[in-house]
Amino acid sequence: MDNPKHGMTLIVKTITRLTVGLILLFGIYIVSHGHVSPGGGFAGGVIIALSFIHILLAFGKEVALKRISYNVASFFESLGAIMFITLALLGIGSGYFLLNFISKGEPFRLFSSGLIPLYNVAISFKVGAGLFIIFVILVTFRLTKKDDRE
C-alpha cells in the first residue's frame, strides 16, 4: 500500500488514510436517514462512490481495485437493480406494483415508513457501484501507442 512509485505524495496518502473511512461513514448515514432528513439514495450513493474514487486517485488503481474489485462492483450494481425490482414485485401480492405494503411504524424514527429505507439502500447500491465502474473505466483507459507521442 505504501509503494512510493504509484499514486501521489506521502502527505496526500496519510490524509487519505485518515479521512476515507469518515467519508464512507457519512455516505452510509446519508443513505440510512434519507426518509427523516435531507439526503437519500442518490446523494448517499454518490458520496460512497466518491470515497472509493478518493482511494483510487491517491494510491493508484492497484490498491483501489484490491479493496473493491471490478467483479464486486458489478455484483453490487446488479444487486441494487434486482433488490429494487423484487421489492416492487412483492407489492403485487397485496395490491399493485410498487406498493408500500408493510407497516409504516411510528414517524420520526429510523425504522419507519415501510419499504422506503430499503428502496433507498437499493438505489444507493446501484448509483454508487455504477458511478465507480464508470470512473474506473475512464481512468484506466490508455491511449494507443500512436497517440502517446503527443
Binding site: 442518490f42 458511478l131 464508470i134 494507443t144 497517440d147 503527443e150
Partner: protein
C-alpha cells in the same frame, strides 16, 4: 419575473456554446450549462414566498411549505445528467484517440 429572465439568459449562454463552438469539450460544457438552467427553472417555479423546506418537524406543525414535486423531478434529473456527461466524455475521449483532435470540422474532413 427578473429571476425567470436571468435563468433564461443562463440557458441561452449554454445554447450559444452548443451552436457556435467547434470543440467537443466546449459542447459538453454547453450541455452541462443548459441542464443547470433547466433544473434551476423547475425549482424556481415551485418556490413559495417565505416557505419552509418540505420536511416535517417533530415538535411543531409546519404549514407553509414549498412545492416538493419539482424537487423530486429534479433530483432524478441531476443523477441522469451526471450519467449523460460521463457517456459523452467517454465518446469524446474515443474520438480524440481515433482522430487526434477535438475539432468537429476536422473530424468531418478526415471521414471521407
Amino acid at each position: 419575473m427578473s429571476l425567470y429572465f436571468l435563468c433564461l439568459v443562463l440557458f441561452s449562454v449554454g445554447l450559444y456554446c452548443i451552436l457556435r463552438k467547434r470543440n467537443l469539450i466546449k459542447i459538453i460544457i454547453g450541455i452541462a450549462i443548459t441542464e443547470y438552467a433547466v433544473n434551476l427553472f423547475f425549482v424556481l417555479v415551485g418556490y413559495k414566498m417565505h416557505g419552509r423546506a418540505p420536511i416535517h418537524a417533530e415538535d411543531q406543525a409546519i404549514l407553509n411549505m414549498v412545492d416538493p414535486l419539482p424537487q423530486a423531478l429534479v433530483l432524478t434529473a441531476i443523477v441522469i445528467g451526471l450519467a449523460i456527461t460521463a457517456l459523452i466524455a467517454s465518446i469524446a475521449i474515443r474520438v480524440y484517440e481515433k482522430y487526434g483532435t477535438f475539432d468537429i470540422t476536422k473530424i468531418r474532413k478526415l471521414k471521407g
